[in-house]
């Protein structure tokens, strides 16, 4: 007898739990339909209980649940660590730093602010569950939607990526432990792309919030019956002003190294008004230091091949290349078309003639620009020039990925869409 593979972890509230898990994987149509209705009804009831709960109790539950997940010694975290690190291919220090970067800012005053802002808004038009489709490139992505859903009183069905099905169910379990009144407000499940449950939920849930690459979004968009809110692929950059110190430039390396450069706020390229040789040397030192603090996770064969290919192409173009085990820096010509990074802490460095030329230099990125980490230049100088390209976040070097509850990912106000 061959052992059956266990189903991916899920969090399903109420009585529909065990049966729905089976049905989601392969159940006959009628059974799936029944169980889906049961799940939606449970979440509607859970939503009512969520909205009846005073905001301060929701926030307190959130803080307790997230704090436990951030504590490497907690039981929840000990159970989560190995599968999650394997799924997102981060080293243990890399995973902890990544989770802290995403979650820390959501525990402080910005969460209070978000709840205050939510209380001042008119109630949602209905209390039906929203569907959230997560990408697998970052651990902890579910945090970005669960907090505003708590603030807004909106039940959620979270579809985890099949590659990373661990974090969202763990978060919901901790929330339910922290506040039993929240136990039926959220569900986290996963399924293979194109499974019958996918179309059924895309038809029933409004809105659908989807994270991912263009191919994933293209496959979902036409099947969503209601609003479809996209968190599509974005790029982030470092901008170095002439007076930037070496220490500031070195800090940019943290924005490269965190999440092994797989986040939409991960820096893929740096544009510099400072002498390019000095910036390259400082960035190389920074990458070297980050390799000690946040050792890279294991590369896939495709990633290794892509990095080698891009280094070869850079060599063919005659670019200066600094390639070490800590990462790669390619000094591109001033007028070169801005290109993305193949990942694995690979940064392209472009000289910038003047700050006035910044937006012209990036016009090809219109709508695809997410964040800018700045060193030696006022954030306002960059924001005013790049906002028309979609820039949603500016931060000092080394802090770009430490978002908080006020951040509007991709310019989308989460309270508004929920």
């Amino acid at each position: 007898m061959r052992a059956r593979r266990p189903p991916p972890p899920s969090y399903l509230p109420g009585a529909c739990c065990a049966a729905a898990r089976t049905a989601a994987a392969s159940g006959p149509d009628a059974l799936l339909e029944t169980l889906l209705e049961s799940l939606l009804e449970t979440l509607r009831r859970g939503g009512e209980r969520l909205r009846a709960l005073p905001p301060d109790r929701r926030l307190e539950a959130w803080r307790r649940a997230v704090t436990r997940l951030l504590d490497p010694s907690s039981t929840a975290r000990r159970e989560l660590d190995a599968p999650l690190a394997g799924a997102v291919r981060l080293s243990a220090p890399g995973l902890q730093a990544g989770l802290l970067a995403i979650a820390s800012g959501m525990l402080g005053g910005s969460a209070d602010e978000l709840f205050r802002s939510a209380s001042g808004r008119p109630p949602a038009s209905h209390g039906d569950p929203a569907l959230v489709v997560l990408a697998s490139n970052l651990p902890g992505l579910a945090l970005q939607t669960v907090l505003p859903a708590l603030a807004r009183g909106r039940p959620l069905i979270i579809k985890s990526s099949a590659l990373e099905p661990y974090f969202a169910p763990a978060l919901l379990r901790e929330l339910a432990v922290a506040e039993p009144e929240l136990a039926e407000a959220f569900a986290a499940i996963t399924w293979a792309h194109g499974a019958p449950i996918e179309s059924a939920l895309l038809e029933r849930c409004d809105p659908v919030l989807a994270y991912g690459g263009n191919a994933a979004l293209d496959a979902l968009r036409p099947r969503a019956a209601g609003r479809f809110v996209e968190y599509g692929p974005k790029i982030s950059l470092g901008i170095v002003g002439a007076p930037a110190s070496d220490e500031q430039i070195e800090l940019l390396a943290r924005d490269v190294a965190l999440f092994d450069q797989r986040g939409c706020l991960s820096i893929q390229a740096v544009l510099s008004l400072a002498p390019i040789g000095r910036v390259a040397a400082a960035l190389a030192r920074g990458l070297d230091r980050q390799a000690g603090l946040l050792p890279p996770g294991p590369p896939t064969p495709d990633e290794s091949a892509a990095v080698r290919r891009e280094l070869d192409l850079a060599g063919m173009r005659g670019c200066e290349v600094i390639a070490t085990r800590a990462g790669s820096i390619v000094v591109e010509p001033e007028r070169a078309l801005l290109a993305t990074s193949p990942g694995r802490r690979f940064v392209r460095l472009y000289p910038l003639a003047s700050i006035e030329s910044l937006s012209d230099r990036l016009t090809g990125l219109s709508g695809a620009l997410q964040g800018a980490a700045v060193a030696g230049i006022a954030p306002g100088e960059v924001e005013s020039r790049l906002a028309p390209l979609g820039l949603s976040r500016t931060a000092p070097a080394g802090r770009l990925q430490e978002t908080d509850a006020r951040w509007h990912n991709g310019g989308v106000d989460p309270l508004e869409v929920l």
């Binding site: 997102v88 291919r89 990408a135 697998s136 490139n137 970052l138 990526s161 590659l163 994270y211 991912g212 690459g213 263009n214 191919a215 968190y231 599509g232 692929p233 974005k234 790029i235 450069q261 797989r262 986040g263 939409c264 991960s266 893929q268 590369p299 896939t300 064969p301 495709d302 990633e303 290794s304 091949a305 892509a306 080698r308 290919r309 280094l311 070869d312 192409l313 060599g315 063919m316 173009r317 005659g318 290349v321 290109a339 993305t340 193949p342 990942g343 090809g364 990125l365 695809a368």
Partner: protein
């Protein structure tokens, strides 16, 4: 390099390659040891020429710490240690990857990366390209069952001609195939106006009725569209035994994904052509030579065989070194037909070695895995 005039030396080398390939002829089977030694010697001279004339390639050699003088590369076997150029380099025309004045520019269809970032192969030797087609196409795609004692074959082409798509290497090849072996009543049924399904159906119906075998030249996608049309209006008779389908290209980047098994099944059902008469071609804009399956000779339908002047091996994507036996890897080629550009290429296709000297395609390397909402190069170019 021999002699004093670099241009005439280069022309001489191209002519030697063309003659050698011509002498090997349509038998794309294993070369003799003597042939192989001669082809290896030519490979060394090709590499010497390319190192000498392509600055970007010299820079790549230096980057890899392989800064031999050009002549060093012509030593026996030295070419095997030369760096393979990523096929993606052909998307950067400013690298000027040619050894002589280009006479024709081939561009990829741009299905995966957008029309503004297509591969460009600036080709100085279209005559050599034709010679290669003549030396390899008939051995793979034309047999006595198809010819039926005649010299020319009625062909239905579902590949746009050079007239319609002047920069298509596939169009260049198929135009030459039609010229060289096509009967007078051959038909091109795919052009700027799309598929002429009625014309194609009429051609097939007429030859099916007269029991004359035909050769259908098609991409997988165009073949699928033809089969769709024939589902609405089926042929009255199956194509004559001996008919052959030449199929290339797959469905990359198209709006439809069709399982290969389905294509085979429908080709048998709608046209009466069994899998043993469907020849697959592996070719790319960046190469001059092509590999084919050998189904007409009873070969495996998924195994491609390269002609003797197109050396290939598999590269471990993690290390860049040749793969261990029986492992999958990125397919690398050294194509003597690319004497006018870059011969040593590393593709992004993943393959595995088949038992009989050929290779099977497994898939494509992807930058996109686990990038999620982080922008990749392909997405930037959309």
């Amino acid at each position: 390099m021999r002699g004093n005039d670099p241009q005439s030396e280069s022309d001489e080398l191209v002519e030697e390659i063309a003659q050698r390939i011509g002498a090997l002829g349509g038998e794309a089977g294993p070369a003799t040891e003597a042939d192989r030694r001669e082809l290896e010697a030519l490979a060394g001279r090709v590499l010497e020429l390319q190192v000498q004339r392509v600055e970007a390639y010299r820079r790549l050699c230096r980057t890899r710490g392989l800064d031999l003088p050009a002549a060093g590369w012509s030593r026996p076997g030295a070419w095997r240690a030369s760096p393979a150029v990523p096929a993606r380099a052909f998307k950067e025309p400013e690298l000027e990857l040619w050894t002589a004045q280009p006479r024709i520019v081939f561009r990829s269809s741009g299905t995966t990366a957008g029309a503004h970032r297509r591969s460009e192969h600036h080709h100085p030797h279209p005559e050599l390209y034709r010679r290669i087609v003549e030396a390899s196409f008939p051995g793979a795609c034309i047999d006595q069952g198809l010819l039926c004692g005649r010299e020319r074959v009625p062909m239905l082409s579902l590949v746009p001609s050079l007239h319609d798509v002047p920069d298509s290497s596939l169009g260049f090849m198929i135009d030459h195939v039609l010229d060289r072996w096509g009967a007078n009543d051959s038909l091109s049924a795919l052009g700027t106006g799309g598929l002429d399904a009625d014309g194609a159906r009429a051609f097939l119906a007429e030859h099916a009725k007269s029991r004359r075998p035909v050769l259908v030249l098609s991409t997988a996608l165009a073949l699928a569209r033809l089969l769709d049309a024939l589902e609405e209006r089926p042929l009255d008779h199956a194509l004559a035994p001996g008919s052959v389908i030449f199929e290339t290209g797959g469905f990359k980047g198209s709006e439809r994904e069709l399982a290969r098994d389905d294509l085979l099944e429908r080709s048998l059902d709608r046209l009466g052509v069994p899998p043993s008469r469907i020849v697959r071609e592996y070719g790319m804009t960046e190469l001059t030579s092509q590999a084919y399956t050998r189904v007409l000779a009873g070969g495996d339908p998924d195994t491609f065989h390269a002609p003797p002047w197109l050396f290939w091996w598999l590269v471990d994507p993690s290390t860049g070194e040749p793969v261990a036996p029986r492992r999958e890897g990125l397919i690398a080629f050294f194509d003597l037909g690319n004497v006018g550009s870059i011969s040593h290429l590393l593709t992004e296709d993943v393959g595995r070695a088949a038992g009989d000297g050929g290779f099977e395609l497994v898939g494509r390397a992807s930058d996109a895995e686990l990038r999620g909402c982080s922008l990749t190069a392909e997405e930037l170019l959309r």
